[in-house]
Symmetry: C2
Subunit: 301 residues, 2 copies
Amino acid sequence: MSVLVVGTVAFDSIETPFGSAERVLGGSAAYFALGASLFAPVRVVGVIGGDFPQEYIDLFTQRKIDIEGLQRDRGETFHWRGRYHEDINVRDTLELHLNVLAGFVPRLPERYRQSEYVFLGNIDPAMQAQVLDQIRAMKLVACDTMDHWIRESPEELRKVLKRVEMLVINDSEAKLLSGYSNIVQAARAILKMGPKVVLVKRGEYGVLQFSDGSIFATPAYPLEEVFDPTGAGDSFAGGFLGQLARSRDHSEGGLRRAIVYGSVVASFTVEDFGVKRLASVELAAVEERFQSFAKLTDFHS
Amino acid sequence: MSVLVVGTVAFDSIETPFGSAERVLGGSAAYFALGASLFAPVRVVGVIGGDFPQEYIDLFTQRKIDIEGLQRDRGETFHWRGRYHEDINVRDTLELHLNVLAGFVPRLPERYRQSEYVFLGNIDPAMQAQVLDQIRAMKLVACDTMDHWIRESPEELRKVLKRVEMLVINDSEAKLLSGYSNIVQAARAILKMGPKVVLVKRGEYGVLQFSDGSIFATPAYPLEEVFDPTGAGDSFAGGFLGQLARSRDHSEGGLRRAIVYGSVVASFTVEDFGVKRLASVELAAVEERFQSFAKLTDFHS
């Protein structure tokens, strides 16, 4: 069962207290695709510039990620430069160059129009809507967003929210979107905007899942070494939707296990710079950490 | 099996975004005792002034809390005034009057010297040591501390840490005590200072338990209404040690269940101002929420 993602494919330049990396592969669609491809076939919709190197293309194809929907436009690839603080949970954006992303109009290859699992990564909600318009068969659509779109494109975003089953969103952004400072109230308000499920990402503190009838709370996998948190949220979403596509289990328990799989994938992502660890991790290691995760949180035995 | 606590018994004056309270019952020993007394008999060591009202004494005795060790000295009761921000996890101390606490020398009634479960609440580590000196039979000693003592009395604190089995500490204070900004590294460093178990309190994000061989991670119980976080950590410790004293189960599973009981007690504490909800909650409601907690975190069924 294929998972389609639309989002950014980018160059990231990253500084953390532990080192730095220049113009490495990044972007929401890249992290999502690498995470999801551990579990299921993935199709990418996005845009790159003439400067996007073959080695990153090869990385996608090695992981059997379908990049027919990754357009190459004239100009430079989207570039983000950020610096993490001593407290690795805090970061500043130093530079943001939209480049080819500025004029991007998503066009889905014919094959992509039958995609049952869809993730609308963090891009302009107008582009997210254009992708939805082109898909004919959808079983489950999840989307992400960020403070910029909540502030600058609230109406477009509200329209997208009415069309998706799930929203995957940061703690602080859920509060901004809803106007509530309490996360439970915030999530309940967002459930009224359209999504049937809201996943709140809390970084090193884990994830909360809200639906009409229930709440699921899970911590993050505690790590001794967090080198680079970039892409944690997108690879979480990739692991989550990838596992859902693999299991086709949309029950409450199935969603919860998919969240734990997503958390496990994210825990690998942050162990090295950029996509380095995520791109090399194998499913067996993910399954093993899933079992550790179960032990880590068990208080019944 | 009795639980002995030494700590502050105080007047708290509290402002939160939802209201305010003047000179209400507070202090680490008060919150701990009310939490622990749901599960086991509790003995309090502390000091109050001539201004401490009979109604608060009555509250302790109604909950069968033994206050023979609560000395009444000349002067005024310890008084703390704080204000919580719109983000309820952030607070400022506006006033701090030690009053009778300044010259406090803990003296344990003879009966108290046989106390198998001991909690050294957040007071001067020199006073914590004086309490330990007077106890003859101990099965399990846990202690708490805060940034002030980590900075101002590091040597006294280090001596206490060598004498306790468990440290219950905030996230930020664990980092300050250890010098590590990663919480797993911080806890590992603290385990080398003496305690066999470190419990890291993360407020609304839950608790991490570290011991030599394992890590336990649990979220906090998600609440739609948090009126006043004061005393959450101390009532958590009370529920935790109270449950350990009730169950006498010091296995890894027993510790983990005690942590969940502590989290449940703290979730009641923050639902109203000061000790109001904590003082009225009954064990049946705690047991019920323990079951909800199990459902909230389960991803196996």
